[in-house]
């Protein structure tokens, strides 16, 4: 259990994980569920336990679509997507941990890809 990391995630997300009643609706609604190793309800629970590093090292943090379905549908107003984002930021803010590297971009592009996709990817996966 890493208290500093937990503190950081809680502060950064602004989420009170103790409000969770373990209903699992977030995971029931998540469109990326099958791509994730850890699911939204697990993010909330594991952050509560302080098991942040496991999450930071999981690919799951890049699978969240930030579609806010879990945020809107959570009956307890927990906002799991914000927890996922806070964990992802905890990872990519570390030196050299950018998930997207500028040099790799050109090969990902096609002529129709909107700027938006690149900008968002940068915003979400780099620091």
């Amino acid at each position: 259990m890493n208290n500093n990391l937990k503190e950081q995630v809680l502060r950064s997300s602004g989420v009170n994980v103790l409000k969770c009643m373990r209903c699992g609706k977030c995971s029931g609604t998540c469109p990326s569920y099958d791509e994730m190793e850890y699911h939204p309800h697990q993010f909330v629970y594991m952050v509560e336990k302080g098991d942040i590093e496991t999450l930071m090292n999981s690919k799951s943090i890049y699978k969240c679509l930030t579609c806010f379905a879990c945020v809107d549908r959570c009956p307890r107003n927990v906002e799991p997507a914000k927890v996922v984002e806070a964990v992802r930021l905890a990872t990519i803010r570390k030196q050299g941990n950018n998930h997207l590297i500028a040099d790799n971009i050109p090969e990902m592009l096609d002529e129709d890809l909107p700027q938006q996709a690149i900008v968002t990817a940068f915003r979400k996966y780099t620091k």
Partner: protein, 668 residues
Amino acid sequence: MQRIGVFVCHCGTNIAATVDVKAVAEALSHEPGVVISQEYQYMCSEAGQNLVKDAIKEYGLTGVVVCSCSPRMHENTFRKAAAAAGLNPYLVEIANIREQCSWIHKEIATATEKAVILGKAAVAKVHLNTPLTAGESPVAKRALVIGGGIAGIQTALDIAEAGFEVDIVEKEATIGGKMAQIDKTFPTLDCAACILTPKMVEASQNEKITIHSYSEVSAVKGFVGNFTATIKKKKRFVDETKCTGCGLCTEACPMKKVPNAFNLGLNNRSAIYIPFAQAVPKVATIDPNYCLKLRKGDVNDKVCGKCAEACTVGAINYHQQDEYIEQKYGAIVVATGFNPIKLDKYDEFAYNQCPDVVTSLELERLMNAAGPNGGTLLRPSDKTHPHKIVFVQCVGSRCDDSKGKPYCSKICCMYTAKHAMLIREKYPDTEVYVFYIDVRTPGKNFDEFYRRAVEQYNVHYIKGMVGKVTPKADGTIDVQASDLLSNEQLHIDADMVVLATAIEPDQTARPLATMLTTQMDTNDFFTEAHAKLRPVESATAGIFLSGACQGPKDIPETVAQASAAASKAIGLLVKDSITCNPCVAHSNELMCNGCSACEKVCPYGAITYQDKEFRMPDRTIAIRRVAGVNPAVCQGCGACTVACPSGAMDLNGFSNSQIMAEVDAICK
């Protein structure tokens, strides 16, 4: 010279853990007039009370101050103890050093300091207390029950049984309430109608009971023992005394496309209707929003009139008007019940998008023999048998999201188990899934009942919540949910989805609470006088609570509470008179100006004026107009005391000088 006794309670550690009770007793012993200051572990215990009684006798106390829990808790206890020892009960004051001191503060030094100050204020006040004698006021021997569901019916029957007149006011066209709409009951699986309708009939036949159906309480005045209620009998356009309930009119009515409210809109009825076969009173009612004639606005118009033609007894009256009845009551029982919440904000479950997503109450109607499908469970959309049904628990309950309710609706776990079981029993080829967060089954034979659903009927209970319900083009419904135990996201191709919808108090409860000056909690459930010890009384004397208006309840609990409320009401009604609150206003005639300011602000009309002869200081006789308070009518709010400019009007138990003394003691 005053001889005051101070008694400081430890309340076990409730007070003693944060307040140095010995120091409080010691500090208060030096207050003027205090002749004895003691502390004891539990002052409210018999031994504690004896301490107070003995001290009153031994020291000839003229006043008692108890530093303990809230006066709302034990003021009466200590007043009675004082009275038993021969001291006027109103010479007792309570310093609230538990709820308003030890429980909210942590630091012993400051909490003790505050407790001493609160004690000093009580001592200062008790110095000015005067012996008060309570007056008496007569009790009207009639009860009003508001709401005619199972709670109201049970309460009325019990009160009538004790020999008192009871009026039931029901806003719908029939009594019966929600229970009349329910198919079977848990955990015995009796047919609800079979056990309810005899009670409805009993109520209608009991000569002590008057049922005002299709009526509302529009005003309530007065106070315990002496309420006056105005009942509005809404125009139903049918003369209740003539109608025989034969139903010819409903057949004759050409307007047949009215959503049937009793079946929750799952089928249609005619514009003139009898809600259901066993309705009480079995009298027709015209729905003016759909009636071809009444909708026209001009009843003299020659439109339709088929029902009047069909009626053999001439009961139809298109000119009927609302009728108001005023009646005196000694006690009022609130039994306004509940409703499922609206699901507008929960469309991730597609309730508004798919007819085959229904609420549990709708399922009751779908499964009921008197329901839209005659008791065969069919999908509302295409009237086919569903083969896979998904139940979703806690829809709108246990929420903290402004859309739902923060509380557990309590009845859903059990009725869902019932539904699941009944479906599996009747249609073994149907798969039933229940998505739950927790299965809550506290109650006699409840958990056993739920286990039977799982073990005997093989209902699939899945721990997890449904996230999204998607109606598909082929008529099936994709239910996407999490299965928390197997850690996977499931997709179930269901034929029907049933939502265990949260329940909320009826909309009429809030304005009624205002009328009755009773308190409600933030969810609009009526607040009981004490959560544990007075669960069926409201804090307002003479108003009792029956059924789900006080909190979510199942039928046995509702009936139990209904009978409890009845017994409390009976306890009041058997008295010929009740002891009034002696803390009422009184006017010092020598100082009264006769200006009428007090009369204007009195909500009870307790103040009247008369011209009285007074001998003036110069020995002349003067006739002056002075105010007098009727102590049986005054409730002791004190509005008049502030309206009075000369200070002639004062309040027993909370006099100007007493409150000033408290202020001084606190601020010293």
